[in-house]
């Protein structure tokens, strides 16, 4: 029998190609294009080679925002992952509590990002916001628009509020997939609650936790909308994380070349960290 050659499939693939091209490839190539050239508008371009990259890499402004970015991401991971696991562990395993908890947990995830920023902005206003007012009434000198520490505190609190649920939901799914026999065997072996957690629950949750950490790393590393609405990067540049700084540079100052170079560097940092983290986690997996 001759094999029938059927080209129909291409018709189904074309829309995806077009979408991906418009979504990813064309914008990315535009950025690459800008990163190596200087433009004064009117489609006039001059070749600049790696000048913008050197400039960005050596710029103190970039170092500062990158540092802030890493600090922020590190802090929120440090809080959200353990907190998420802890909440997942205390969630009910059966009965009406399960759907109730799951719905409550998903609520923050469903709120649009700029709304989250706006909500927290109002919530934290020192004079009329519930949080700001209460803190001041309790005797704390709290003003997130003026004081760096307060701005960071509020941004982190907002992010923890917004995103811990994601870690909770993933951990909960991981926990539920553990067979009851494991708990029974541990109980019979006389294992303490802590031993059950470290020897059974954590190892069994490893895969979902890897995904949770990756997702939270990428999202928080690229955070823009919420702090932009909440603090606008201020006071000063205190909460100007990478993406906020990038937008300031690109749209505020119209330094398209350096901004494009910075975007690419930014992109590679995210890629590199994710890759390193993933390989480390998976290498352990193979060993076992």
């Amino acid at each position: 029998m001759n094999k029938t050659v059927n080209q129909k499939a291409w018709f189904f693939v074309i829309p995806v190609f077009v979408l991906v091209a418009f979504n990813a490839i064309i914008p990315l190539m535009t950025v690459v294009n800008y990163a190596f050239q200087e433009t004064f508008g009117n489609n006039v371009f001059m070749w600049e080679g790696t000048r913008w990259f050197k400039q960005i890499m050596l710029s103190e402004r970039f170092h500062a925002s990158l540092g802030r970015q890493f600090l922020f991401t590190f802090i929120i991971l440090f809080i959200q992952i353990p907190l998420g696991i802890a909440i997942a562990l205390t969630m009910p395993k059966e009965g009406i509590g399960v759907p109730v908890c799951l719905v409550l947990m998903s609520m923050p995830l469903l709120i649009p990002w700029n709304v989250v920023g706006a909500m927290w902005n109002i919530f934290a206003l020192p004079d009329i916001g519930f949080l700001g007012h209460s803190l001041n009434a309790l005797g704390f000198d709290y003003n997130f628009t003026q004081q760096i520490g307060d701005a960071w505190f509020t941004t982190i609190l907002m992010d923890v509020w917004h995103w811990t649920s994601l870690v909770v939901l993933l951990s909960y799914a991981g926990l539920r997939s553990i067979q009851p026999a494991y708990y029974q065997a541990a109980e019979i072996d006389g294992a303490s609650r802590w031993a059950i957690f470290t020897k059974i629950e954590l190892p069994k949750m490893k895969k979902v936790l890897t995904i949770a950490i990756l997702l939270r790393f990428m999202d928080s590393f690229m955070i823009y909308t919420e702090p932009f609405v909440l603090t606008g990067g201020g006071p000063g540049n205190a909460t100007a994380f990478l993406s906020i700084d990038l937008v300031k540079m690109a749209l505020g100052q119209f330094d398209l070349g350096p901004a494009a170079a910075m975007s690419l560097i930014y992109f590679f940092i995210v890629l590199l960290v994710c890759w390193v983290f993933y390989t480390l986690m998976m290498r352990n997996e193979e060993k076992s």
Binding site: Q184, A191, K199, P203
Partner: protein, 354 residues
């Protein structure tokens, strides 16, 4: 080590019970001696796993008491009961080495590290795990993992009983044989009370000295493998044990005679009672032979299993299976069957008439 006694145990997963069917197990009484090898045998849903979990303390029974060495322990937790349990799927601690897995129950009980070392090596030797002690437990094959689960039960010298919940389910047939005889060998070496739950008659009969057959939440017969095979007290035991199971066919009782297929037949018992709703005659395929006269049948089919032949025949009263030697000539078409009198029983309302 301990003697295990169950007194009037009943358990229901429902809050209120209206009929017998609402009980997972009902009225279970068992006396198990210290150091014996016992099996709970029955189909899925017969209550055997419920019973096992009650003994290990994972379930609190609705009614009745559990005694270890004549002391009531019904309220104690699994740890306080000092039992070990091996589950259907191997439970191992993935991140630990084989050594650490075996040492885990001892470390939890704060046994000195020196003593642990001696004990773990001794058990590893017994289970042929010595060469893998430093490997990650998660890298082992299914039977290796199951040996670790077993080892964690054996390292503790103070366990009252070791319970097995269908431990060979995920093991390949060849390794099943090896692991099963390993279990039996271990039992003889260490002499601990072992309780083995399974739906597989071969596993139950070969492992245990005493087998408890369960059916719909009740014990139908307790006995040695030979008792259960040669003299089933209930037609369910006859059907469930033996492969193929016992031939159970309707019969009539007239006076002291058993009438089967229109003729009087000889059975093991003397019949004195006859007020039953249903009377049946039971005989195992192993105890039927072809003969020149007797019960007329039609031979339907023959299947050769290498070791023996299973012959399907049909009589006027119903189908009858026969096990014949693999080199035996099987008549085709019409034939006559003869039941061995000593192993032919009469059942009234499913229970043996005595």
């Amino acid at each position: 080590m301990a003697k295990v006694t169950l007194k009037g145990l009943s358990h229901s997963y429902l809050k209120t019970q209206s009929s017998d069917a609402d009980w997972a197990i009902r009225g279970v009484d068992i006396d198990w001696n210290d150091g014996g090898a016992y099996a709970l045998l029955g189909p899925s849903g017969c209550g055997k796993t419920t019973l096992l979990n009650i003994i290990s303390g994972l379930i609190t029974p609705t009614k009745g008491d559990i005694l270890f060495d004549d002391k009531v322990i019904s309220g104690l937790s699994p740890v306080e009961r000092n039992i070990a349990q091996i589950f259907q799927f191997p439970v191992i601690y993935d991140t630990m080495t084989v050594y650490d897995n075996l040492a885990f129950p001892l470390r939890n009980r704060k046994v000195p590290e020196e003593e642990i070392k001696v004990k773990v090596h001794e058990i590893a030797e017994m289970l042929e795990l010595s060469s893998t002690l430093n490997n990650r437990a998660s890298g082992l094959t299914a039977d290796g993992k199951q040996k670790i689960s077993l080892g964690r039960g054996l390292v503790r010298s103070d366990v009252n009983a070791i319970m097995f919940d269908e431990p060979l389910t995920v093991i390949d047939p060849h390794l099943k044989w090896i692991l099963r005889s390993k279990l039996k060998e271990l039992h003889q070496k260490i002499n601990r009370t072992m309780i083995y739950v399974t739906h597989d008659q071969t596993e139950a009969l070969t492992f245990a000295d005493q087998v408890v057959v369960m059916h719909e939440g009740q014990i139908v017969q307790t006995g040695t493998p030979v008792d259960l095979f040669e003299k089933p007290k209930h037609t369910f035991v006859g059907y469930f044990i033996g492969s193929p199971g016992m031939n159970v066919l309707p019969c009539q009782i007239k006076g002291n005679d058993v009438i089967f297929n229109g003729k009087k037949i000889e059975t093991h018992q003397q019949i004195k009672k006859s007020n039953f709703n249903k009377t049946e005659v039971g005989v195992r395929p192993e105890f039927i032979s072809f003969s020149n006269e007797g019960i007329p049948v039609k031979v339907l089919s023959v299947s050769n299993t290498g070791r023996h032949k299973i012959v399907d025949t049909e009589s006027e009263t119903g189908k009858i299976k026969i096990i014949a030697k693999s080199n035996e000539d099987i008549p085709s078409g019409s034939a006559f069957l003869k039941f061995k009198k000593e192993y032919t029983y009469t059942y009234g309302d499913s229970w043996i008439i005595e």
